[in-house]
C-alpha cells in the first residue's frame, strides 16, 4: 500500500471517529421518541421534527400533523445552564486575559529574581490533573459557602486557564522582536510601551489565548458536576448530564447538545483565521 493510501485511510478513520457520534445525536435530535425506539434504528429521521429544540427550552410544541410534545423536565436546568455557561465563559476569558497578558509578557521578556522557579511553579500547575484538586476544592468551598455558586466555579476554572494560557503565550511574547527599545526612543514608558505597542502587536496571540480560555470554561465538566450540578449555578455540561439520571428523553438530550455547540462554533468560525495565523516561534513572520 502506498504512503498516500495509508494517509487517507487514517484521515478517514479519524473523521469517522469524530463524526459518527456527532451524526448520531444530530439524527436523534430531529426524531420523535417513538422513532428513536424503532429497531433496527433509522439512519435518518423519516418524519423529522424540531419539537426537541422547543421542549428543552421549556416550550410545548404541536407538530403540523397535530402531534403534541410536552416541555422537558430539564428545561429550567438547560436554560440556566446555557446562560450560566455564557456568563462564566465570558468572565473566565476576560479575567484570564487581563491576568495572563502582563504575566506572560513579564515571563517572556523581562529578567527578575527567581524567574525560573516561579515559571516552574506555573508550568507544574498545568501538569497537575484537575481531578486531584477536586475534593480539596469541594471541601474548602462547602466550608466558605462557594459550593453551588458561580463564583466558586469561576475561581476553580481560573486556576486551570491562567497557567495553561500563560504557558501558551510566554513563548509567543519571548519571540516578538525587541521593539521596547524602539518604543523607549520614541518616548514611551515601559508600561506605555506594553499597552500601546506590545498588546496591539500581540493581537493574534491574545485572541488565541482568549479562545482557548472561553472554550475551556464552556466545556468544563468535572468541576461543574461536583460543585454546581442541580443548583441555580449549573452550567450547560452539568445540566446536560442531568438527562442521564431520569426518565430517558434522548431527543431532548440531543437538542441541548446542539444548543451547547453553537457558541463554540461561532467563536471558532469567526476566529479561525487568527488560529491558523498563530505561530509561537515567529509571531510576526508574514
Amino acid at each position: 500500500m502506498s504512503k498516500k493510501a495509508i494517509k487517507w485511510i487514517l484521515i478517514l478513520v479519524i473523521l469517522l471517529w469524530t463524526l459518527i457520534p456527532f451524526y448520531w445525536f444530530l439524527k436523534i435530535a430531529f426524531m420523535t421518541p417513538a422513532e428513536i425506539s424503532v429497531f433496527p434504528p433509522h439512519f435518518y429521521p423519516h418524519k423529522p421534527t424540531i419539537s426537541g429544540f422547543f421542549n428543552v427550552l421549556g416550550f410545548s410544541y404541536t407538530s403540523p400533523s397535530g402531534e403534541f410534545f410536552l416541555p422537558s423536565g430539564q428545561a429550567t436546568q438547560v436554560k440556566r445552564g446555557l446562560l450560566n455557561s455564557f456568563v462564566l465563559a465570558s468572565m473566565v476569558t476576560c479575567i484570564t486575559m487581563i491576568v495572563v497578558t502582563p504575566l506572560s509578557y513579564a515571563f517572556g521578556r523581562l529578567e527578575f529574581q527567581h524567574k525560573n522557579k516561579l515559571l516552574i511553579g506555573i508550568l507544574l500547575s498545568v501538569a497537575l490533573p484537575p481531578v486531584s484538586i477536586l475534593i480539596p476544592f469541594y471541601i474548602l468551598f462547602v466550608k466558605v459557602g462557594l459550593a453551588g455558586n458561580l463564583i466558586g466555579l469561576l475561581l476553580v476554572t481560573l486556576t486551570i486557564t491562567i497557567p495553561f494560557v500563560s504557558w501558551m503565550l510566554i513563548g509567543f511574547f519571548r519571540n516578538l522582536p525587541p521593539v521596547e527599545r524602539l518604543a523607549i526612543i520614541d518616548g514611551y514608558s515601559r508600561f506605555g510601551a506594553f499597552i500601546k505597542i506590545i498588546v496591539p502587536m500581540s493581537k493574534v496571540g491574545i485572541t488565541v489565548g482568549a479562545i482557548v480560555s472561553f472554550l475551556f470554561a464552556w466545556n468544563e465538566y468535572t468541576f461543574a458536576v461536583v460543585l454546581v450540578n442541580g443548583t441555580f449555578a449549573t452550567t450547560i455540561p452539568a445540566s446536560i448530564s442531568g438527562f442521564l439520571f431520569q426518565h430517558p428523553e434522548p431527543e431532548h438530550l440531543a437538542a441541548s447538545l446542539i444548543y451547547s455547540l453553537i457558541p463554540p462554533f461561532i467563536v471558532a468560525y469567526f476566529l479561525q483565521e487568527h488560529i491558523t495565523k498563530m505561530n509561537i516561534t515567529e509571531p510576526m513572520g508574514g
Binding site: 522582536p177 525587541p178 527599545r181 524602539l182 523607549i184 526612543i185 520614541d186 502587536m201
Partner: protein
C-alpha cells in the same frame, strides 16, 4: 548638532563587566565607528548614549551638558537598531510617525515631514507597506527615515547593515555616509565589519573587552595600530605575527626567530625604545602584502611550504605553513604559478614591520610617526 563626551563610562551586567571605564570624545558632525568583536561593549556604549541603558557609573555629556539622567527622547537622539528594527504591526508611514509623537507638531506638519523624509530616502512606494512586505534594504531605508525624521542631534546606528547581502550593504553604506554629510548630523555607527568601519568612519574607535583600544582615522588605525589587538583585528587577511628576540651584533640590530631573521632598518633603530634588545622576546608583526615570496633561498628567509592559495581576481592570497602547522598569509599578484606543496621562501619588507610587547601587546614604536 552635538559633540559628545563620554567620561569614564562603566557598565556591569550582574557580574560581567561590559564597559570598563570608557572615555570617548566625539566631535560635532563626524561619523565615529565603534568597531570590535561581539561582546566588546560597543552596543552597550550606544545604548548608554541613547539613554536606553543607564551606565553603572560615569557621565555622558552632549555639548558640555550632562545628560546622563535624561530619558532618551529628551536627548533628541535617533537610533537605528540591529536588523533595522521596526514596529512589525505598523506600516512604514505609521512607523515614521511614531518618531514624531512627542514633538507635538500638528497633523499638516507631521505629514509634510514624512513626505520630505520619504523624498530624501526615496521610499514613497513603501509608505503603506508593512515591514514584512519589504526587502531587507527597504526596511533599512524606512528605519533610517524613521530615525532622521525627528531631526535628531545625534544619530546612532547599531549594525544596521548586518543582515543584508553584500551588494546591498555596499550600496547602503555609501547612502548613509552621503546622507550624514548632507544633514550634518553627528553619527555613531556600531559594526564588527572592518570594511564597513574603514569605508564609513571619519574616525574609528576600536574596542575590546569594554575598553577603548584606539581611536583615530581609518589610516591611523591601519598604519599605526596602538597594540597587537588593533593590528590583528583591522586588516584582511590579518597581520602575521612572529615571536622572537632582538640582538645586536656589529652595530646591526637583528630580529631573530627560530626559522628566520631580519636586519632592522636604521629608522627603526633611531626611534627604538632603549630596551628593545634587552627584552627576552618581542613579537614582530607584518601585513600579508608586506611579505615577499622567493623561489630560491636567501639570507635569513623563512622556508615553508604552500598550504593552499586563494584567488581573489585582483590578487592571490598564499597560505604558507612552516614548522609543520603554523600558517602565515601572503598577498601576491594574481598570476601566481606555484601550487600546493611547493617549497617557498618568505621575507618581510623591513620598512613595514611592527614590534609588540608580548606581555602588554603594546606597539613598541607607537610614539613614532610612521605615516
Amino acid at each position: 548638532m552635538a559633540k559628545i563626551y563620554l567620561q569614564h563610562l562603566y557598565k556591569k551586567y550582574g557580574k560581567s563587566i561590559a564597559l570598563d571605564g570608557l572615555d570617548l570624545q566625539i566631535k560635532d558632525k563626524e561619523i565615529v565607528v565603534l568597531l570590535g568583536p561581539s561582546g566588546c561593549g560597543k552596543t552597550t556604549t550606544l545604548n548608554c548614549i541613547a539613554g536606553i541603558l543607564p551606565p553603572t557609573s560615569g557621565r555622558i555629556y552632549f555639548n558640555d551638558q550632562d545628560v546622563t539622567d535624561q530619558p532618551p527622547h529628551k536627548r533628541n537622539v535617533a537610533m537605528v537598531f540591529q536588523s533595522s528594527l521596526l514596529y512589525p504591526h505598523l506600516t512604514a508611514r505609521k512607523n515614521i510617525r511614531m518618531s514624531l509623537r512627542i514633538s507635538r507638531a500638528n497633523k499638516q506638519d507631521i505629514d509634510r515631514k514624512i513626505k520630505d523624509v520619504a523624498n530624501l530616502l526615496n521610499i514613497h512606494a513603501l509608505l503603506d507597506k508593512l515591514p514584512y512586505q519589504m526587502s531587507g534594504g527597504e526596511r533599512q531605508r524606512v528605519a533610517t527615515a524613521k530615525a532622521i525624521v525627528r531631526n535628531p542631534s545625534v544619530f546612532l546606528m547599531d549594525e544596521p547593515l548586518a543582515s543584508l547581502d553584500a551588494a546591498m550593504r555596499e550600496e547602503l553604506r555609501v547612502e548613509i555616509v552621503v546622507l550624514q554629510k548632507k544633514l550634518a548630523i553627528t553619527m555613531i555607527f556600531v559594526t564588527h565589519d572592518q570594511v564597513e568601519a574603514m569605508t564609513m568612519g571619519d574616525r574609528i574607535a576600536v574596542m575590546q573587552a569594554g575598553i577603548l583600544q584606539q581611536i583615530g582615522t581609518p589610516n591611523e588605525i591601519y598604519n599605526i595600530p596602538v597594540n597587537i589587538f588593533v593590528a590583528g583585528f583591522v586588516g584582511s587577511p590579518p597581520m602575521n605575527f612572529f615571536r622572537g628576540t632582538v640582538k645586536q651584533c656589529n652595530k646591526e640590530y637583528i630580529f631573530e626567530h627560530s626559522k628566520f631573521y631580519v636586519e632592522l632598518p636604521k629608522i627603526l633603530i633611531q626611534h627604538r625604545e632603549k630596551s628593545l634588545e634587552e627584552r627576552k622576546s618581542v613579537i614582530l608583526g607584518v601585513r600579508p602584502q608586506h611579505l615577499i615570496l622567493l623561489e630560491k633561498p636567501e639570507r635569513g628567509a623563512l622556508k615553508g611550504r604552500i598550504y593552499t592559495t586563494e584567488q581573489l581576481g585582483k590578487e592571490t592570497i598564499v597560505i604558507v605553513d612552516y614548522e609543520g602547522k603554523t600558517k602565515l598569509k601572503v598577498i601576491v599578484p594574481p598570476l601566481f604559478k606555484k601550487s600546493r606543496g611547493d617549497v617557498i621562501y618568505v621575507l618581510p619588507k623591513t620598512e613595514y614591520i611592527y614590534f609588540f610587547d608580548p606581555e602588554t601587546g603594546r606597539n613598541l614604536f607607537f610614539k613614532k610617526d610612521q605615516t
